[in-house]
């Protein structure tokens, strides 16, 4: 694992205003993610796991503190700049796959490449490579409704890696899958981390899923309560 720090949270806080009440999710949260790391974040419901993931992905902004990515401070970026930053650096994998139902697998995987300047043939090549990597070359023309949950999640993984992002964020990627399929997906994430050097942050409820990560962080009431090195 490389020693270079990819992500750094310095004294990050996050508050929500609900009516007249201000609810604090985090207070002075500090965290570092190294390049090539595979981190699992666990914690009970409402502990702030998804909020943390959203902040790492630049879809939510902290109320205070600093968020650094690859020597660039991203918490002060405008919405537009943050959108571009996400397109360049982050791949997302969701619990419910979130594929576009009207597009086939190939077109779904191609979506992030519409944000690049790649030519049509380059895009096709990248899509074919990504689908081959997740073992779905033969399903390229299938619609999401014609695929199983595991296959849909593999399409989502292909979509997350097709533009070669530095960081892949996974929100309960196996939460909607059976054990065997979940293991296949987790092995695939592990392979992406180990063989392709992808940095992965995964939010999960499942201790068995967390075991595939290099380390697990436990979040409770807005604080990391325990740090455990798994692998």
């Amino acid at each position: 694992m490389s020693e270079e720090v990819l992500f750094q949270l310095k004294g990050v806080s996050k508050n929500f205003v609900k009516g007249k009440e201000t609810i604090s999710i985090f207070e002075s949260l500090n965290m570092e993610i190294d390049c090539g790391d595979f981190v699992a974040i666990m914690g009970p419901s409402g502990s702030g796991k998804t909020t943390l993931l959203n902040m790492l992905g630049g879809v939510d902004q902290p109320s205070g503190g600093e968020v650094w990515f690859d020597s660039e401070r991203i918490d002060s970026l405008s919405e537009g700049a943050l959108t571009q930053w996400r397109a360049r650096n982050i791949g997302f994998i969701f619990q419910f796959y979130n594929l576009m139902p009207m597009l086939n697998a190939q077109r779904n995987v191609e979506l992030p490449l519409l944000l690049t300047n790649l030519s049509k043939s380059q895009r096709r090549h990248n899509v074919e490579t990504a689908l081959a990597l997740v073992g779905l070359s033969d399903r390229a023309k299938h619609m999401p409704s014609e695929m199983s949950g595991g296959q849909q999640q593999r399409v989502a993984i292909a979509r997350a890696i097709v533009s070669d992002p530095k960081l892949i964020l996974c929100d309960e990627p196996t939460g909607d899958l059976d054990r065997a399929t979940a293991d296949e997906i987790l092995e695939m994430l592990q392979l992406l981390n180990r063989d392709h050097g992808k940095t992965i942050v995964m939010v999960t409820h499942d201790p068995a899923a967390a075991k595939y990560a290099n380390r697990t962080l436990h979040l409770d009431k807005g604080q990391f309560v325990q740090r455990e090195i798994v692998a």
């Binding site: 959203n54 992905g57 879809v59 939510d60 919405e79 537009g80 959108t83 571009q84 996400r86 397109a87 360049r88 997302f92 969701f94 419910f96 979130n98 576009m100 139902p101 009207m102 597009l103 077109r107 191609e110 979506l111 992030p112 519409l114 944000l115 895009r123 979509r159």
Partner: protein, 386 residues
């Protein structure tokens, strides 16, 4: 794949809904195209009337006659440029059902007052010099395949010929066009003198007069002077602009403008509500997908454009097909209605108006959902989805 492909796939993902939405718009523009063409046809005589042309009728009503001596008196009024007189002939060709708009006129003064009539000089002279000559409009000549030199029997459903019959023999001396496409050339003009000499209704009377003034600004003064001159005489006159007369004539069959406005406005408002509601529903259903696109890095403005484009595309697909159907309808019925509405066409101005309405419809129905998509917060959208 491009943004257009995404828009197309989004648009066509629920074919029945798309069909119904487009059909609603189709109906709206079919109504708009057909009804506006009808209105335009009814108003064409008003629109084509010269600004400086006045008509002088008997004050009792326009079917009553005037003495021909009035023509010279009107010509002497200050501000009158040219004056002519007309008699309604009530003609038909061969069968009473084949009506021909025909008038007995004084050829030389008529062409000075109706300058929009275009006749080749040799044909004009031929008409002037032949008392039995008739000047025939291009469209009318086309309908009955009349050529210059043809002898045509024209009957009247009002007057009797002094030979005891109802038919006048005329010679086609010339064929005229209008200076604009809309000018109605389904009419025939015959010599007043020939008509007077051969009919049995008495002499030296005319149906009405038409005149041009030196300037449209003096129309009112000229009209008042003419009517004052003939006040308290046996045949009092009523002078008005040709535009006002034609407009009043059309309004006898109802306030067309109000009817059209009401129908089109009601149809449009209904369609607007239906399409707007459908678009809003569509975008609401896609909240999660829009959030995913934003998460992947699609900018808010790009998504705004895509949603708005979808709405515009639906408006144009439905609208243009409705307009095309209206055009087919108008083309289909215009032959049957030619006698009553000679200028029934769906012209470029109506098409342009319709296209502007399509643009407006697309913008109004698309803007709200597009703004919803623009302002969609990713976190809120995902929370709503769970």
């Amino acid at each position: 794949m491009s943004d257009f492909y995404l828009i197309y796939k989004n648009m066509t993902r629920k074919p029945l809904r798309l069909f119904l939405t487009c059909f609603a718009i189709f109906i709206a523009f079919l109504i708009f195209g057909a009804v506006t063409s009808l209105k335009s046809a009814l108003n064409s005589s008003v629109e084509l009337s010269a600004d400086n042309r006045l008509v002088v009728f008997n004050r009792i009503n326009f079917t009553q006659t005037l003495p021909i001596a009035y023509v010279q008196k009107v010509a002497a009024v200050d501000g009158v440029k040219n004056v002519t007189h007309l008699n309604w002939f009530g003609g038909y060709y061969q069968e009473p059902s084949r009506q021909v708009v025909s008038m007995a006129v004084d050829p030389e003064s008529y062409l000075k007052v109706y300058e929009e009539i275009v006749v080749p000089e040799d044909q004009k002279q031929a008409w002037f010099n032949n008392r039995q000559g008739a000047l025939v409009g291009e469209k009318l000549a086309e309908i009955y395949a009349w050529k210059i030199g043809d002898r045509i029997p024209l009957s009247s459903n009002i007057f009797t010929h002094n030979d005891g019959g109802y038919t006048w023999e005329l010679v086609v001396s010339g064929i005229f066009k209008g200076d604009t496409e809309q000018y109605d050339t389904r009419q025939l003009l015959l010599h007043y003198k020939y008509f007077m000499e051969t009919q049995t209704f008495g002499n030296d009377w005319i149906g009405w007069m038409a005149l041009t003034t030196d300037d449209p600004a003096i129309n009112e003064t000229v009209a008042k002077t003419i009517d004052d001159n003939f006040a308290n005489s046996q045949s009092e006159t009523d002078t008005s602009t040709e535009k006002a007369f034609n407009k009043a004539f059309i309004e006898q069959i109802g306030n067309i403008g109000l009817i059209i406005f009401s129908v089109v406005f009601t149809a449009f408002f209904t369609i607007l509500v239906v399409v707007g509601n459908t678009m809003a529903l569509t975008i609401r259903e896609r909240t999660g997908e829009i959030a995913v696109l934003k998460t992947l890095g699609f900018s808010s403005t790009r998504i705004f454009r895509m949603v708005l484009s979808e709405s515009l595309l639906i408006a144009f697909v439905g609208g243009l097909s409705g307009l095309a159907a209206a055009w087919l309808l108008v083309e289909g019925v215009k032959t049957f209605l030619a006698r009553f509405l000679p200028n029934l066409i769906l012209g470029g101005d109506i098409a342009l108006q319709a296209i502007l309405f399509m643009l407006l419809l697309g913008l109004i129905t698309g803007l709200m959902p597009a703004f919803q998509a623009l302002r969609l917060n990713i976190v809120t959208a995902f929370n709503r989805q769970q």
